[in-house]
Amino acid sequence: MSSGSIMERETAMLEIRNLHASVEGNEILKGIDLALQPGEVHAIMGPNGSGKSTLARVLAGQDAYEVTAGQVLFNGADLLEMEPEERAREGVFMAFQYPVEIPGVGNTYFLKAALNAVRKHRGLPEMDALEFLKMVRGKMKLVQMEESLLNRPVNEGFSGGEKKRNEIFHMAVLEPSLCILDETDSGLDIDALRVVADGVNALRSRDRSFLLITHYQRLLNYIVPDHIHVLVDGRIVRSGGKELALELEEKGYSWLEGLTPEQMATQPVGA
């Protein structure tokens, strides 16, 4: 191993090495390698069934997925060894593709419990209701959340757009260091997409990284990534800069789908 790769490992926020994962015995991820530096925005694109969302969920720790090989380091620590809630407290956040409804549990109440769990883990004192509300009001503006969504039960009766906005709102409150957005753009009209993207852009910072999972190039017009990776059949077949999205938009995924592993190896790989 060259000294360069050791350097890279030391500074990477997230490093995925040869990650294989299956669900119910079917291998979905077939060897993923990926490194995110602090402050970078990476987009994972790919056709339906390519394993994009599986990657997001494996990183978040959903137990339906079994990791069969490989390693994931988050700030140098073994992410796969951690329980989902530990990952969250360490700073991994996933905006769900389908945010879950929790009837009878107020959105603010839920978020306060979450924030205090995170703060406790970081050795910070619990935030009292007053402080919390003050902070929350500031964050609401970020995603143009209506006040009424604060006191309604978590995601219950929310429209599709409201649910996605609520995810970004949670993200803003919890201030994670790694944000995984699992198809956050799906089902959003152009106005809602813009609101969500504005929220994400406002949260971009030097020490916060993003992994955007998306099927469409559309989202990337609003959230401009540093790197794009194309996932086909559980493998990254192409990586490049933001211009790769446009090329994909033009040529379609079929452009990359027909390639054999040998052919892929000969493709120029960016980043």
Binding site: G61, I102, V105
Partner: protein, 482 residues
């Protein structure tokens, strides 16, 4: 990695925190039930002749009855001859006259349970009657309540000091012939609470009874009678615990409520009798008859119950809506885990015109728990414009428990309006994962989801009781993350 499924399976194994035994000198009858037992009991309590006669009528009637088998619960038959029908802390002289005379061991017990019997009760603003096994040991705030004409005392005292009221109302809602367990109670009831709120008086504080079974092999048969006279208001709370014992113990109580014209009674229960161990050994058999009568126009009776304990619960707090425009409500949370079984619900009997009833039942089953909602709504011929709304929601945690719903509806008046909603949901792994992903531990997530599910019921409880109920649910859902 611990999966939510594992956690859920761990449900059955958490500790019961009220399982300690208090060491007090007991005065206990030998096991067995006969006319003599009834006479002895009555003599022990220095009861007047009419009370003994009533008990004996009940006992003789009980001998002709069969134990009911229609409930969706299974248990080894109860041997009524192996139960002791009286157990009380040995009294010095004629029983405690004030808190100072109560055995300090008993006061300690209540302190451990967090029941304020002393002056700090003032802060809590709750007047407490504490029943220890068969005997009422202390009633607080009696004088203060007497100033506004409210009688709040033990049932035994009421029999001695207010015989005219007891004779008028005892058995007027639950007659001694009512059902097997209520009839048994009528024969051998030991003690309980008595409340009378006079015309137009709004009870200035929450009244509360705390029941504690301590003695071994004893049954607890308390009887509560609450009367709210015209225009009166009272809110009453009931809590219960018992030590952990390997044998099953019988608790067969009767509660009668009478709300006269324009009166309101709010009756809240947080029941946490010992549920038995993780293998289903031991625990309380809770066979209880609770019924209220809206005996006048605009009367209102509201039952709220949070049932988390007992090996078996058989309980249907009901309302007879006799007065026109009277209102009956039933809000219930029943949690069964381990091998607990609950068959609970309500009966709303609409007799008066424009009577209205609301039923909200939330059943939660975990472990091998079996939870049955059994409700009956009857609209009689004369009940023009009667309305009922029923909502029965069941939540399943894990895949070895069960939820069952038996709603009975009998409408004899065409102007009635009935609504019935029912849902069954599983606590979703996706819900738990969502909470986990926000940093919330599985145990807290389960408790949060369950509390959210029960919210409509909890908000009916008086504030401090709602907090207690939420804590109790959390404790009962605890022990999941090792």
């Amino acid at each position: 990695m611990q999966t939510p499924t594992n956690t859920i399976e761990d449900f059955a194994t958490q500790d019961y925190k009220f399982g300690f035994v208090t060491d007090v000198e007991q005065d206990t009858f030998p096991p067995g039930l006969s006319e003599d037992t009834v006479r002895q009991l009555s003599a022990k309590k220095r009861e007047p002749e009419w009370m003994l006669e009533w008990r004996l009528k009940a006992y003789r009637h009980w001998l002709t009855m069969e134990e009911p088998t229609w409930a969706n619960v299974h248990y080894t038959p109860i041997d009524y001859q192996s139960i002791s029908y009286y157990a009380g802390p040995k009294a010095k002289g004629s029983g405690p006259k004030s808190l100072d005379e109560v055995d300090p061991e008993i006061l300690k017990t209540y302190e451990k349970l967090g029941i304020p019997l002393h002056e700090r009760a003032i802060l809590a603003g709750v007047a407490v009657d504490a029943v220890f096994d068969s005997v009422s040991v202390a009633t607080t705030f009696k004088e203060k309540l007497a100033e506004v004409g409210i009688i709040f005392c033990s049932f035994s005292e009421a029999v001695r000091n207010h015989p005219e009221l007891v004779q008028e109302y005892l058995g007027s809602v639950v007659p001694y012939t009512d059902n097997f367990f209520a009839t048994l109670n009528s024969a051998v009831f030991s003690d309980g609470s008595f409340v009378y709120v006079p015309k137009g008086v709004r009870c200035p504080m929450e009244l509360s009874t705390y029941f504690r079974i301590n003695a071994k092999n004893s049954g607890q048969f308390e009887r509560t009678l609450i009367i709210a006279d015209e225009g009166a208001y009272v809110s009453y709370l009931e809590g219960c615990t018992a030590p952990m014992r390997d044998e099953n113990q019988l608790h067969a109580a009767v509660v009668e409520l009478v709300a006269r014209k324009d009166a309101t009674i709010k009756y809240s229960t947080v029941q946490n009798w010992y549920p038995g161990d993780e293998n289903g050994k031991g625990g309380i058999y809770n066979f209880v008859t609770k019924r209220g009568k809206c005996d006048g126009a605009n009367a209102k009776i509201s039952w709220t119950q949070v049932e988390t304990g007992s090996a078996i619960t058989w309980k249907y707090p009901s309302v007879i809506l006799k007065g026109d425009h009277s209102v009956g409500e039933f809000y219930s949370v029943a949690l069964t885990k381990g091998y607990q079984q609950a068959d609970t619900g309500t009966k709303m009997i609409h007799i008066g015109k424009h009577t209205k009833s609301t039923i909200v039942s939330k059943g939660i089953s975990a472990g091998h728990g079996q939870n049955t909602y059994r409700g009956s709504v009857r609209i009689l011929k004369g009940a023009d414009g009667a309305r009922n709304f029923s909502q029965c929601d069941s939540m399943l945690i894990g895949d070895q428990c069960g939820a069952h719903t038996f709603p009975y509806i009998d409408v004899q008046n065409p102007t009635a309006r009935m609504e019935h909603e029912a849902t069954t949901s599983k606590i979703g792994e996706d819900q738990i994962f969502y909470c986990n992903q926000r940093g919330i531990a599985t145990e807290d997530a389960v408790s949060m989801i369950v509390n959210g599910f029960c919210k409509e019921v909890f908000r009916e409880l008086p504030m401090e009781f709602a907090v207690e109920a939420q804590k109790l649910l959390a404790v009962n859902l605890e022990g999941s993350v090792g």
